[in-house]
């Protein structure tokens, strides 16, 4: 696990690329540890962080690191609230506060298992950096609501796509693609990230087929480093896990279900 510098730092925006409904934020982040795939950072705009809808945002927002390219870190954004909206407005030359890399990322495949990347919506972000690390051997299966969001699939290479409305690729849930892939060869390890209902469907399917899965979870989070105890998710056998320090990547075996409340202040 890569450790984060013990302070937030100011990073300069080098690009903001439109990807259908999403944006890819690029920042220069030189001299900090290489993140493990699945690790995340807390981001806040350096200027005008606050005073948006409902006089928010106040807290930084957690984002998976989607890619590292030399000294640049990439993040996938979707405008879903005052925090993400402000970040989407950033232009080259402006600055963001960043803290990270944080949390526990994906563990490498074992027992010769074939990696499958299963992502939904903006949750595809950590699977891009994971695909970079794993190389061509991983199948990428991505689910989106509609055509505008399916444009996000270009973040990964050679992805098979499902959309809820059938506008791109298979019409239906991502788990249709996953079921077919696992039917072909179940000696696999599933890496999944996406909205809670999708993750729960992936978890249940993998559990029923005895396929191991690592789930990158999302939860409302104030700090990202274990201080606030806000990002708790119920652990199998009682008690809670902190998504920021025990996760964000959690072995599916550690959960009875993926909490439907999972979802961050946006």
């Amino acid at each position: 696990m890569s450790e984060a510098p013990f302070s937030r730092r100011l990073l300069t925006v080098t690009g903001m690329e439109e990807l259908g409904a999403y944006r890819v934020l690029r920042v220069v982040d030189a001299g900090t540890p290489e993140p493990d795939p699945g690790q995340f950072a807390m981001l806040a705009a350096a200027e005008r962080w606050g005073g948006g809808e409902d006089e928010r945002p106040y807290l930084p927002r957690a984002f998976s690191i989607a890619r590292r390219d030399g000294d640049e870190s990439h993040f996938l954004l979707e405008d879903v609230g005052p925090g993400t909206r402000r970040l989407c407005e950033l232009r080259s030359g402006e600055q963001v506060w960043a803290l990270g890399p944080l949390g526990r990322g994906f563990a490498p495949p074992t027992e010769g298992r074939r990696p499958i990347l299963a992502g939904g919506g903006a949750g595809i972000a950590p699977l891009a950096i994971l695909q970079d690390a794993l190389g061509a051997k991983a199948s990428a299966l991505l689910g989106f609501r509609d055509r505008d969001r399916a444009a996000g699939a270009s973040l990964l290479r050679d992805a098979r796509v499902a959309t809820d409305d059938g506008s791109v690729g298979h019409r239906g849930p991502l788990t249709d693609l996953l079921a077919a892939d696992l039917e072909r060869d179940a000696h696999a390890l599933v890496y999944a990230c996406g909205p809670a209902p999708m993750l729960e469907a992936v978890r249940a399917m993998c559990a029923s087929l005895a396929v191991p899965a690592q789930l990158a979870l999302e939860a409302p989070m104030a700090c990202g480093f274990g201080a606030c105890f806000g990002c708790a998710v119920a652990r199998r056998g009682g008690g809670y896990l902190r998504v920021c320090v025990e996760g964000p990547v959690i072995d599916a075996d550690e959960l009875d279900h993926v909490d439907p409340h999972a979802g961050a202040p946006a």
Binding site: M1, A4, P220, A222, F225, G238
Partner: protein
């Protein structure tokens, strides 16, 4: 230039609010830098209870205009495991004195190299005086613990009233605990009461060495309802506590009111996120200033505030 507080010698005036920094988790996230750059002049643990607690069902957080409502529910591993497992990992923390911007550059540099112990203040909560007594007596036996902070924002099981919201009850509880330890007793006052200064006086009369305030303000958020339905509580715990810049003006008024009525030192907190805010708390009568929610935005916010205060 150290700061004296209840017999402790501190590097500066800025500490953490209970439950807003986890040294053990931060060590995992930040590695050795956590020890080298430890931001707080003393470290206040999260609340420890006699029995383990899992905490409240999620969701536990709600962002408000310039603030945060939390409903965490005091998750902790219980007294026995805290003493056995956590205490060794929380003892021996040290922090640097903030450098002042004075003319004596060499002297300032030398001061900045010097480190001071960051003593451990253990925060405990009981739902009865007897439960508190168990906690205080057990902590009294451990020299790693420099002082105790009493979280009295817990409802009395019989009356339903927060122990710390009722001056007579608060004085009785503090007086019950006073003979059980020679360590300083700090009473963390709740702002959710009719007269916080009367509660502070009661804590002092019971034998407290200091008071700290404000704890969070009771607050609520409603989930956005489906069409045609009424909104219901968003937080798993129903209500929670509001913190952050949204509460700073309230905190300042309560700190000033308390400092005007007691002779024991006051730890002021509530929405402090700059040296100017900390200076206001001190001007209002605080001996130390605690930082909480600002740490969530930047883990070394407290060190920067301490540095700013020294200038």
């Amino acid at each position: 230039m150290s700061v004296a507080f209840c017999g402790l010698e501190l590097a500066h005036r800025v500490i953490n609010g209970s439950g807003t920094f986890d040294v053990i988790a931060a060590r995992k996230a930040f590695g050795p830098a956590l020890e080298a750059e430890f931001p707080f002049a003393a470290y206040v643990s999260k609340t420890i209870t006699r029995e383990p607690r899992a905490g409240n069902a999620p969701p536990r957080l709600w962002e408000t205009p310039a603030g945060l409502i939390n409903s965490i529910g005091l998750p902790n591993k219980g007294l026995e495991a805290y003493l056995a497992e956590d205490l060794p990992r929380l003892a021996g923390l040290r922090t640097r004195a903030p450098c002042s911007g004075g003319a004596d550059v060499a002297g300032a540099a030398a001061a900045a190299e010097r480190t001071w112990p960051a003593p451990l203040i253990t925060n405990v909560m009981g739902s009865t005086a007897e439960e508190f007594a168990t906690l205080v007596e057990a902590c009294a036996r451990h020299e790693e613990i420099a002082a105790l902070e009493l979280n009295v924002s817990c409802p009395n099981v019989r009356t339903g009233l927060d122990i710390g919201a009722d001056p007579r009850q608060l004085e009785r509880v503090v007086a019950h605990l006073r003979p059980r330890t020679r360590k300083p007793l700090i009473v963390k006052l709740t702002p959710n009461t009719a007269d916080v200064a009367a509660c502070a006086e009661a804590a002092q009369a019971g034998g407290a060495d200091a008071v700290s305030l404000i704890n969070t303000l009771r607050a609520m958020a409603l989930a956005r309802p489906a069409a045609g339905c009424r909104g219901s509580a968003w937080l798993g715990g129903g209500t929670g506590g509001l913190s952050g810049p949204a509460v700073r003006a309230v905190a300042l008024a309560q700190v000033a009111a308390v400092a005007g009525r007691v002779t024991i030192p006051v730890i002021g907190m509530g929405g402090v996120q700059s040296a100017a805010h900390a200076r206001e708390m001190i001007d209002a009568g605080a001996a130390l200033v605690a930082v909480g929610t600002a740490t969530f935005r930047d883990p070394v916010a407290a060190a920067q505030i301490a540095h700013g205060l020294a200038e």
